[in-house]
Symmetry: C2
Subunit: 401 residues, 2 copies
């Protein structure tokens, strides 16, 4: 029996304990040995809970117990989680975490410590919940060079965009609805400002390029400016608006961006509705692929954590391949990134035509204004031209497949 | 440098050589060492080809060369492939194959030999082309018990169904088109009769249950009976018709089926068009997930083979976990499987209502007839009732999600 410890008995931590119990037998078969939770670290007590007598309050108990081989970190936040995880790795224990903030900020360092100690630091649950996107990058698409990763990586905002699109509602109304349903938090800024998706694409891009991509370097726009009128234009164009987190291999390196995008039905991500997440991956040999599933939630996230535990159980005495060095990856400058842009402006085609060649017009949606889609151009070029126009709204277009 | 041999220099075999060349550097990084093709086994010569001087005609040369660690089998067919692969495994070489016929028929036996010899027999490319569905089952969704796998596993038939749906064409016309485009073979029966999809779902189901599922035991219906009128009904119902290969965990074991299904837009497989493949997987912890990509083609399939080679390079001295014993899995009897059925019959509601409770009618598509969808019932029950009716067409309905 492999002994494990769970640090943080909240939604995900308790989900991990539950998943280990429900699938005890099949996990034993797949891991080669059963996995048993010996400790649960939490500030609280849980009287009456099956794990009540396993609760401890001092992480040093875990670090100091040679019997514990796998430690699960589901506390969230960076500071304590970092201290605890580091201590576990240094004590020679394997760690799996669902904590994207920790991974985005300290991933490279923790991976290096794990390598040095001959253990594993895994984090499948930190991006895309139950979607096995990290293992897909590290262990499945290994024959390819990955040219693009574009994801719907935040279920809250995808739910909101879906509601706006399907019911013609305004942003504030769908935010309230999402909060009432428990999909959005009281302070929803991490979701609606794109910060959550930004950390996730930073992690994925780091894995693709094998170097440290700092999430602070990624240009990030949220969905707060999207209106019911924008959605009307999208409908008229047969498209949808979604918050996409995207990175591409470019000639000089990598470029990354988080922003709302207009997306056409031909794109596999167009059909991803509600709280579901999905990741589109283009490989230079494979071509286009897509991975779809529950991006959050107690059990889907626990599924990913437990898959990490099984992987660890299969590699108790060796470090699994994972390339993410501390060397900083300098992303392509935002101004150099290229897109086609959808623009809303007062109805004055002469003004538009004077600035933008071959503008594709979308008319008759809002009185006295027109929409148009530009040709593909750099952010810098667009910004310069758009500054000469009265612009009511700008949304990038996801490239057609 | 790890030495490899490729047996069969056709479309896929040459794709493997090409992918290894294109991504030489990144593969070296991911595999820990470069991979070099030492031999190409084929009946033909390839003068002028970069591998011209590596061509051999006797597989014993490979089996007898201790330097060769990885052997790729991309010959196709069962007989020679089986003899050659067996010889390679017995000589202590790792093998990866793209050959679904070989894997469906001899998988369990070859896996057992590989285990005994401490090498690996991998076959990612045998199902779903570039979609990493086998690694997803074996290495990613390991925290789950898989309750359902339903796939669009044959690109030819999916292309044909898409064409019929989008252009209102008859079966014979789209078959001819598919043959002209090179998507369907001269003798298209393996695709259109569902035999190809059947072997693939047999492989996936064997991996899910860990036992031998004989493809001959899977009830298989092709798409040859689907007409333009059936598609009109589907449109009227807001659905599509797709050839699905599906297996489910049942109370007593597993049930599997290959047949055309009516599928609603809420199902993630509804939107999978053209030659693309996709696999829907439901886990008992994860919930619903879907994996989408190119199901065939030179490079996508090569991508999967090379991923196997990298996995092997990472596990040169150990057998990677893979459960598929020779013990036969007896599938649930076909008559006990449950579906809702769509039926076309001469317009006589009294006759239908006398047999089927709560029939949901679809009218006004074809003069003098009506369509209806039954409640969910067993195949046996449906067959008994349908025998009392004049039935023009029957299509099962994929369960709503």
């Amino acid at each position: 029996m492999i002994k494990a410890a769970v640090m943080g008995y909240g939604t995900i931590g308790s989900g991990v304990v539950e998943a280990l119990r429900i699938n005890q037998e099949s996990i034993k078969k797949k891991a080669g040995e059963g996995i048993e939770v010996k400790y649960v670290l939490d500030l609280r007590e849980f009287p009456g809970d099956p794990i009540a007598d396993k609760v401890i309050h001092d992480y040093q108990v875990i670090a100091g117990d040679p019997e514990v081989r796998i430690v699960v970190e589901t506390m969230g936040g960076v500071e304590s989680a970092y201290t605890f995880v580091r201590a576990m790795l240094e004590a020679g224990k394997h760690v799996t975490t669902s904590n994207k903030a920790l991974v985005a900020e300290k991933g490279a360092e923790l991976i290096a410590i794990a390598k040095e100690k001959g253990v594993n630091f895994l984090f499948e649950a930190s991006v895309g919940g139950g979607i096995p996107i990290i293992r897909t990058i590290n262990s499945c698409l290994t024959g390819d060079q990955i040219e693009e990763i574009t994801g719907i990586l935040n279920g809250t905002t995808n739910y909101m965009m879906t509601q706006m699109s399907e019911h013609g509602l305004e942003f504030d109304a769908v935010l309230k609805d999402a909060q009432e349903k428990g999909y959005a938090e009281k302070d929803p800024s991490a979701d609606i400002e794109g910060y959550d998706a930004c950390r996730k694409i930073a992690i994925l891009t780091s894995l693709v390029c094998g170097k440290q991509v700092d999430f602070q370097d990624i240009h990030t726009e949220g969905i707060t400016k999207i209106t019911a009128e924008d959605m009307k234009y999208a409908k008229k164009m047969g498209r949808s608006i979604k918050l996409l987190a995207s990175s591409r291999r470019t000639q000089g390196g990598y470029a990354a961006l988080v922003a709302p995008f207009l997306i056409a039905p031909e794109h596999p991500l167009y059909h991803v509705s509600g709280v579901f997440n999905a990741v589109f991956v283009r490989g230079n040999v494979l071509g286009d692929s897509m991975y779809y599933g529950s991006g959050a939630g107690k059990l889907p996230t626990a599924s990913a954590v437990v898959a990490d535990m099984v992987d660890i159980a299969r590699h108790l005495n060796r470090n699994v391949w994972l390339e993410w060095s501390k060397e900083k990856m300098t992303l392509e400058e935002f101004g150099q990134m290229r897109s086609a842009f959808f623009v809303r402006t007062p109805a004055d085609k002469a003004a538009v035509d004077a600035l933008f060649e071959n503008a594709a017009y979308v008319e008759g949606v809002v009185d006295g204004e027109l929409g148009f889609v530009t040709e593909e151009m750099s952010e810098a070029e667009f910004e310069e031209k758009a500054a000469k126009l009265s612009v009511r709204s700008v949304i990038r277009c996801a490239s057609a497949r």
